[in-house]
Symmetry: C2
């Protein structure tokens, strides 16, 4: 079932200990949609400039992604550049040129409005809310945010996530949002803000799912080589939501299936791990569903006791 994805579509410059790429396709929306496309039909809402390359359009449409909601306007596409620390646990931003993204005001094509699933990438909370308001009868909605919105746009953010089914953030953001260091208590506080489901991403240490009074933990996949962690968290989100959309999970009628949520967290982890194996979105160019299901079984094998 179709999934609407909103967020940045960008070009990135990235340097890691394994090499340097001056300019490659990036952006949260891109990673989310590509990862989700292995499970379900993804429909992008975003904006790019007139420099957006045909080969990048081809990559997205080649994965069956609907670009009707990808606006093209005069000017340059959002550009971000950063450099990772030797252990790749930290990164420094070198450049942030918002360009056409500065005036992003997402408008949903008519054909998107009845989609049952909505994933709101990390953008201004008010914009996330306006997208939510344009949807009719959405079944499962949630998204990401970041420290900047949590600190400086707290009221807007709280008004936005109040109506979400799930929030998907990293551990330091969860602690900041809750004002509580202990993750178990932080999760309780966040769940009282609206989302019945909270997924905390912990990078190389995996993820935690909180739903109702229950929780589920998965360690991070132990890669032989991490080439580039850019987009791993967004790929996690795409795998998580893509799987739920594929399964047609519908929490509006009765309780959500907790086992399906757990499997969705594993598929999210799987997509995040693949993302790190090559620069940018490169691993998604020839990834197969068989490889994805194979890694899902690896997660089973290395966590089972």
């Amino acid at each position: 079932m179709s999934l609407v994805v909103v967020g940045s579509v960008a070009y990135d410059g990235v340097e890691t200990p394994h090499g340097k790429v001056e300019r490659m396709l990036g952006g949260a929306c891109t990673y989310i949609a590509l990862a989700a496309s292995f499970f379900t039909k993804a429909q992008i809402v975003g904006v790019v400039g007139d420099d957006f390359a045909q080969e990048d359009v081809d990559l997205l449409t080649g994965r069956g992604i609907d670009l009707e909601g990808l606006e093209r306007v005069p000017g340059k596409t959002f550009y971000w550049a950063g450099v990772y620390s030797p252990d790749m646990n930290d990164r420094a931003t070198l450049t942030t040129d918002l360009n056409v993204f500065a005036d992003f005001n997402p408008k949903l094509p008519e054909s998107y409005r009845a989609a049952p699933y909505l994933l709101l990438g990390n953008i201004q909370p008010e914009l996330q809310r306006s997208v939510r308001a344009q949807m009719n009868g959405v079944r499962f909605v949630g998204g990401d945010t970041m420290n900047y919105w949590i600190q400086d746009y707290r009221d807007q953010l709280l008004a936005t996530i109040k109506d979400w089914d799930f929030l998907l953030i990293n551990d330091s953001e969860a602690r900041m949002l809750a004002g509580e260091h202990n993750l178990r208590r932080a999760a309780e506080k966040i769940q009282s803000m609206g989302p019945h489901t909270l997924v905390i991403k912990r990078g190389e240490y995996g993820a935690i799912l909180f739903q109702g009074g229950d929780h589920f933990m998965v360690p991070g996949f132990l890669l032989e080589d991490v080439f580039d962690p850019t987009g791993a968290g967004d790929s996690f989100a795409g795998g998580f939501m893509g799987y739920l959309a594929e399964k047609g999970v519908d929490p509006r009628h009765g309780d959500i299936d907790h086992q399906e949520l757990r499997r969705a967290v594993i598929y999210g982890s799987v997509m995040g791990s693949f993302c790190c194996e090559k620069f940018g979105v490169d691993r998604f160019r020839n990834l197969t569903r068989a490889e994805i299901d194979g890694r899902y079984r690896e997660f089973k094998a290395f966590t089972d006791f």
Copy 2:
């Protein structure tokens, strides 16, 4: 089956965000033996001064721990004091008074020498080796070490662990020992140094078991409150080895049972998590095997998918 444990028996002064204790029973050997005592008979090899309190003797003997190898000499018991950071992920040492521990030269009582299991706590590698040499027909042997021995006593350490079945260290120590940041490749290097089994402790992020070409990962237990992390790693070691001794695991005859090793890692994690719930060894004063098995089942519940 009985387990010989070698290491420090100490008094600790600890300050955490939850409070401060000037002097309480501590030391690696103490935590290991107490945690192991819920699974098997533990036999301590260590040294204390004439200030070692009768109530501490009573605690240990009350848990069935054999103190024949606990030497008492004139002078003061090893004293360590430290203070934890607000998030308890770091600690600063305030005092290290080795006292009688400075001249520790472990001698095994005759009654210990045929014990099938040996766990060598973090002491000078040469001393660890001398203890190993005093044992007859030991079935499963391994232990812990630390950055100091890895850096400044590398040759001694390599000669010592060459004959071990397992090494149990934290992630930064594993990286230092292997000279390799990636944990998967670091584990391969360490396994080529001798131990067929490597357990990497990752604090709040859990643990990884490497054995043969296989690995197993478990997330850390999500505690509501961490009162004092002192001794958690040693309690992990005690639970891990205690369980293997209880089961009579014997890798000398054929392959080691990988499933039992995985369960041992869970029991180690269980004991480490209990240790953090109160100051020092306090949680072990009234812990029950039923609580331990209950938490084992919790690990199953929050990791199963």
